[in-house]
């Protein structure tokens, strides 16, 4: 038998839940190239993800298998008829992972997916921790207004002044309620299956609002260049997390002073959003590491090192891609490309 190749070329038979879970897992990790995915059902959920990732799909497993250069065929159909066909027509050198073994790998992939869900949530909560100083400031200022004016109301007798203080107190209370509501909405545990139509312009506006809550952005010139966008399908909470991370990174990189440009557009089949800053930029030798887990250049307590890793993870889940363009002293521009719902 040949030595294990550096990159294992895998062909997946079955594009339902199991095949899709494997596809997600293999697409986000190194060392595995998915060379095709087949399913008899043209509506199989793994197909649209595969197409967005540029992976060949087919409803005819045999034609895909015959023409492929796969090192390994993973058959997650659990169908004995499919298993015998695959065994008969596979390329000579290809190995087969099927039956209970394939089921085991599928279960591991699903377990890994659950862990990723938990990591996404953990990163969100940890990032809220790093935003705490800004948010505390946002809450404690109106709170001081409320306590200070309440003190005065205890002895104030002039009706017009009482009315004025009560008005101020109500206004400050509403401000605090808004902040708490936004935070609650952001922190809530979302279900990965919670997918709906999304206008990415609204997601970017929302991310900007969160950033304004968490940090002083008055010194940052914010430009939005939004195009009319077709709706995409995705998990709104996860996509918000992507852009909160990118916007907060940009503001932190500029140390609160500079230009932030958020723009959106669409090309054939894709919606594109970019977050551009005029910060110090990313040195070339770090560009390859910024999406790695636990990689951070921020001082302790200011970052989890998970932000960009999670950004990439979520974007890949949506069948999209995230890229960065940056050079020292030239700022950084992160571009997120998300697929439009495919017409099957």
């Amino acid at each position: 038998m040949d030595a294990t190749p550096a990159t294992i070329r895998v062909l997946i038979v079955g594009a339902g839940k199991g095949g899709k879970a494997l596809l997600e897992l293999f697409a986000s990790g190194p060392g595995v190239e998915v060379v095709g995915i087949a399913d008899i059902n043209p509506q199989a959920s793994g197909f649209s993800l595969a197409r967005n990732l540029g992976i060949p799909t087919s409803t005819d497993a045999l034609s895909l298998i015959r023409g492929s250069r796969a090192d390994l065929i993973v058959d997650v159909t659990g169908d004995p008829a499919v298993a015998s066909l695959v065994a008969k027509h596979k390329p000579e050198k290809a190995e087969i992972l099927g039956g209970t073994s394939a089921m085991l790998v599928w279960k591991l992939a699903q377990y890994e997916r659950d862990l990723r869900d938990q990591l996404i949530q953990a990163e969100k909560l940890a990032s809220i921790g790093t935003l705490a100083s800004g948010i505390a400031h946002e809450i404690n200022n109106p709170l001081y207004g409320i306590t200070g004016l309440s003190d005065r109301l205890e002895t104030e007798t002039r009706p017009e002044v009482v009315k004025e203080y009560v008005h101020d107190i109500k206004q400050m209370s509403r401000r605090i309620a808004d902040i708490v509501q936004d935070l609650n909405a952001y922190a809530r545990k979302n279900s990965a299956e919670d997918v709906c139509d999304i206008n990415l312009n609204e997601t970017l506006e929302e991310a900007l609002k969160m950033a304004r809550r968490a940090t002083v952005v008055d010194e940052v010139r914010v430009t939005t260049d939004f195009s009319r966008l077709p709706l995409i399908r995705g998990n709104p909470d996860e996509l918000l997390q992507v852009f909160v991370n990118l916007v907060m990174n940009a503001v932190q990189a500029m140390e609160g002073k500079g230009s932030l440009t958020l723009s959106t557009g669409s090309t054939h089949g894709w919606v594109i959003a970019s977050v551009k800053d005029t910060g110090p930029g990313i040195p070339a030798h770090l560009l390859g590491k910024i999406f790695d887990p636990f990689f951070t250049t921020k001082e302790q307590g200011k970052g989890t090192g998970l932000g960009l890793h999670i950004v990439r993870d979520i974007v890949i889940r949506c069948g999209g891609r995230v890229t960065v363009d940056s050079a020292p002293d030239k700022g950084a521009c992160f571009t997120v490309k998300l697929p439009l719902p495919s017409e099957v």
């Binding site: 100083s133 800004g134 400031h137 709170l143 306590t147 200070g148 003190d151």
Partner: protein
């Protein structure tokens, strides 16, 4: 009027410059401090604070500065560094919405007189201001 200050001979309780970007915070501080007998000057950020007291011979008379940290334009840290350098005999009370030990230590090492976390109660504020005024008198007496 020259820079210098509230002394034992100056009428009134003394003048306080309040630098905070939040309108409601400035309002409550002004009401509280005015009622306690102080003359209060307001500035909405560090730059305005610096502008308010000036740095030439006609500089405005201020005895104590109350300054927020997190503000747009010139932030509290920058404004405090300026005040400490230009007017070392004017005590500074820092107001912050978020207690941060590292920042507090740095501020005290820069000579900040006191550090209050919002929302502080009235008595605590007035006690800090009173102590700062006493410090102010002690420093001007020495000169």
């Amino acid at each position: 009027m020259t820079w210098g200050l509230h002394t034992k001979d100056t009428p009134g309780m003394g003048r306080i410059l309040v630098v905070d970007d939040e309108e409601i915070v400035r309002k409550v501080l002004k009401l509280t401090l005015t009622e306690a007998g102080y003359d209060v000057v307001l500035a909405e950020h560090g730059g305005k604070g610096i502008e308010a007291i000036g740095s030439d011979d006609n500089a405005f008379m201020v005895d104590v500065i109350i300054c927020d940290i997190r503000m747009p334009k010139i932030n509290g840290m920058e404004a405090i560094a300026f005040f400490r350098q230009q007017y070392p005999s004017v005590p500074i009370i820092v107001l912050t919405g978020f207690p941060d030990t590292k920042m507090a230590t740095e501020l005290f090492s820069q000579g900040v007189f006191d550090y209050l976390v919002k929302p502080m109660d009235k008595d605590k504020l007035l006690a800090a201001v009173q102590a700062a005024m006493a410090r102010r008198l002690a420093l001007t007496d020495k000169n």
